[in-house]
Symmetry: none
DNA sequence: GGGATTATCCTGTTTTTCCGGGAGATAAAC
DNA sequence: GTTTATCTCCCGGAAAAACAGGATAATCCC
């Protein structure tokens, strides 16, 4: 019995690419595609695939939320996350919401096939790159204390140590210490690179 | 004479999607693809297409830099930027580096065809969404000169005025002046808020 | 040719940050 | 009871940024 595959992605050329890759594969039955969450749910009313390849971002709803909704209504459907982003937080949320696998958009045909085969057996599939990113979470994670976060935000707003001290009712020396700790934790050379790194890691 | 098209993208499924969309089009000759910058340059040694569809991000080099390099070595090649990101700074940099067009990865087949046809005539093609994003830049009101952008990036990297001066072969006093101009243009109180604002507006 | 813009460079002063340590108090974990 | 983590505060000095102006030259556009 062929595995029925459906895809949700807002990039038509991605849909076309994967369809083209899979159309000649025995054991795979291409059911169709949707370019947004609403038409995906609409399709599922009529036909439920075995596996859905689901993009992480759609115009009307995130793939993370759609994943959750689909698993709630159609628990038998396996979902493979699909994204350009190799970002730990997206991947983790997708898996938390019931996805059985996750591949990046630079995956090869073989990898997509392997993902589909593995997930069809009820197992979890994560490509090497994805696994590494999930592991890396613990390594690169900068952990800030409550006070450090407060100071960081106020520094980013452009306040001086004296101004921050006055606002938080602490000594400018205390602010100076927190600042130095922030520089150390982010491995930043000075305030400019601290703020840039903090912005990149979405602390501010 | 058919228009010879080549594509550079690290997502194989995107390559496959576009190839599939274009393969039956009269007037289009599909030359091939590369999945990174190095193999793109290698290909160009042997054959130069009329048009290159070029992703913005590659593992070994950004599409922005690759665009510049290709235009320098093969000025007759038209380049169409290709990206998931509808981000003004990427698009603008691509255009500044010699791209003749830019489309997003949610573009339709018709739109890709139109982009290719327009660019093949030597004209510039920007999809509606892309044009809007470029216009929006003017709304945010911050326009930086070439030197200011350079100084801003180096400040964000954590370099001091002396270091920046040494790197750009200008006086630290000059760097100081550019810096002050940046503070004024962003209406920032100091370097911390300058970097935060610049990050928010995607200058860095 | 002239005006505007950009890029260049400067001085001296004040303010702020960074550095490299030091320290005490409190609460939680072991 | 001890250790760890967090928050608090400090010092002196060096480095850097900010300030508040001033100036010349090259380039671009009308």
């Amino acid at each position: 019995m062929a595995t029925k595959v459906f895809i949700v992605d807002d990039h038509y050329m991605v849909i076309e690419g994967i369809r083209s890759l899979l159309q000649n594969e025995k054991g795979i039955e291409w059911l169709g595609h949707a370019t947004n969450a609403a038409s995906c749910m609409s399709f599922l009313h009529n036909q439920v695939p075995d596996i859905i390849l689901m993009d992480i971002s759609m115009p009307d709803k995130s793939g993370i939320d759609l994943c959750k909704e689909v698993k709630e209504k159609y628990p038998s459907v396996f979902i493979i996350g699909l994204s350009t982003f190799n970002q730990q937080s997206f991947i983790q949320k997708m898996m938390e919401n019931g996805a059985s696998g996750y591949v990046l958009k630079n995956a090869t045909q073989e990898e997509i096939m392997e993902a589909i085969a593995t997930v069809a057996k009820g197992k979890t599939y994560l490509s090497d790159g994805v696994s590494q990113v999930l592991k890396k979470q613990d390594d690169t994670g900068v952990v800030l204390t409550r006070r450090e976060k407060e100071v960081l935000e106020l520094v980013a707003e452009g306040m001086t140590n004296i101004e921050i001290g006055a606002k938080l009712f602490i000594s400018p020396s205390t602010v100076d210490t927190h600042r130095n700790n922030l520089l150390t934790k982010f491995e930043a050379k000075n305030t400019a690179s601290l703020i840039r790194l903090a912005a990149q890691k979405h602390f501010i």
